[in-house]
Amino acid sequence: MTRFEAMLVGLVVASGVMLVQAKHEARLRYLALEMQTRRGERLDVEWRQLQLERATLVTQDRVQRLAQEKLGLASPRPEQIVPWER
């Protein structure tokens, strides 16, 4: 066996090891990606749920009740409205 051949064998072995390493890493990365995708989906769902929650909090009925009962606000009478012309 020449030194050249021995070097080739060494390279083949090394590339094999690297291949295994690369595959392993790819698998780990893929798992991480999947996890992040899942997380993204979960956050998406949560965002939609929060939007829905906000929608129930800002309904006219509720806001009007809070404004009148808690804050003592009232709709302005027409004579209290002064139009501001530009």
Partner: protein, 576 residues
Amino acid sequence: MEKTAVNPMLVLAVPVWRQRLMAGLLLTLLAALVVRAAYLQGVQRDFLQQQGEARYERQIEVPAMRGRVLDRNGQILADSSPVASIWADPAKVREWPAEDFARLAHALGMSTDELDRRLGQGGRRFVYLRRQLPPDQAAPLAQLGLEGVGVVEEYQRFYPQGEAFAQLVGLVDVDGNGIEGLEASLQAMLQGEAGKRLVIQDRRGRVVQDSVWMQRPRDGRDVVLSLDARIQHITYRALERAVELHQARAGGAVVIDVRTGEILALANWPSYNPNRRTGLDLSEVRNRVVTDVYEPGSVMKPVLVALALERGKVRPDTLIDIQGGVFQVGNHTIRDSHTGDRALTVSQVIQKSSNVGVAKIALGLDPKDIWQHYRAFGFGVRPDLPLPGVASGRMLPADSLKPIEVATMAYGHGISTSLLQLAHAYQTIANDGVMLPLSLTRRDAPPPVSEQRRLLSPKTAQDVKAMMELVTQAGGTATRAAVAGYRTAGKTGTAHKLENGRYVDKYVASFVGYAPASQPRLVVAVMIDEPKVKSYYGGIVAAPVFSEIVGQVLPGLGVVPDMPGPAVAAAERPRG
């Protein structure tokens, strides 16, 4: 010297015993494989087949998210949220030891008897145990890891605006398909398309290994309506108060933007909470404003008078002999509810709502012309709106109209319409005679000129508008439709109801009008079905609803009052 040139590795000097050893080894291995194959195929066949079936590649359907329904300002009217449903294979669950059975029942929050009932009898392999649980409640069940029970992801529909929008937005069934209202008619747009994913599942139906998407789900599209949640709530509450005050059977109200034809609010009473729909009553689901027709009564009068003005038969100040409010047509008698007047101008006929007056005006016109005029205004024609069950209303056939039929049509009897059709006719008058197609989806500008239809000359429209403004002023039938700060106009209606072809002492009180009168912005139509206490007149039952809606909505839209009160006149105007 030659020998040294030969590579020692290439010299074959293999002893015989090595050849034999190799051959022996290979044969032994081969024999081992044959024996193993025979063993698997023969002895362990059943076990292996079972294991194979347990882990298999399967296409699972991934549901698409249904689109949202939004109001014109982006407020959510309907949205979907993920939930989990628990299913079971009764055949498998029934083979469980009692303690597992009890554990499942406990996790589901039901008794073992109830669980037993849910599983049912007979050979079904799939039953839902619980549907639409919040995902965090379903998670522990999935972790029990019991064979024959699984969790599927679904979506539940939520309606944050509740009962005010119930009939219009509609409902979906438990599988997420629209069955009422816009949910049903816009199904194709909202629905989306389920995706497909290839996965390997184990025998408990759990996904062991995720693999490729065959097709990603395509979520449904959002729909932006023309409706305004604020105006809708004001309309719904005002309607509800009136119906309760007069102990009426039902009511409806609709608000239309005069300049764009957009429907801004559409409310019905009775209503229901679309988020909790056990024991739904059909009468609560009906969108009366568009699906129910009735004889509108005097609300039709301005439409008839508009034709007489357009044809030059009368002018607003033409005097009509009212004959004290009693008028004979053939062997029928037409009466006014406010009697005693000898003669009224055409304007006063509208202001005081004289049946005799409009009947006489109608009899001076060509019946076919009236019929075509009504038709052009949309009566007897199905409004083009994407809603289920939109009613077209009815008119008598044009060719055989008798004089009494012409006379009654003039004051809105012998013709049936929906409240929406009336509101549309008033939109036309308020918009100086130009009818705009109605819309339930947001328009940011008036529809193109090709879709606009001029039905009255501007002069005629202005004359009719001037008459209708008298209605809400002193001496008119609807002084309660007045709004502080804004000029209003409209027409009342108090119609006897028809039951089995006879008029009975039940009424439909209505008011259709617009505001501000100087530059109409909103048409508001209100109908109260069978008011029982206090009053049944449109001017007393329905007009205040109009006033309440207009009074609350116009300032919110930033519409400048066109009838400044004394306080505004006195206030110093800021300079902008």
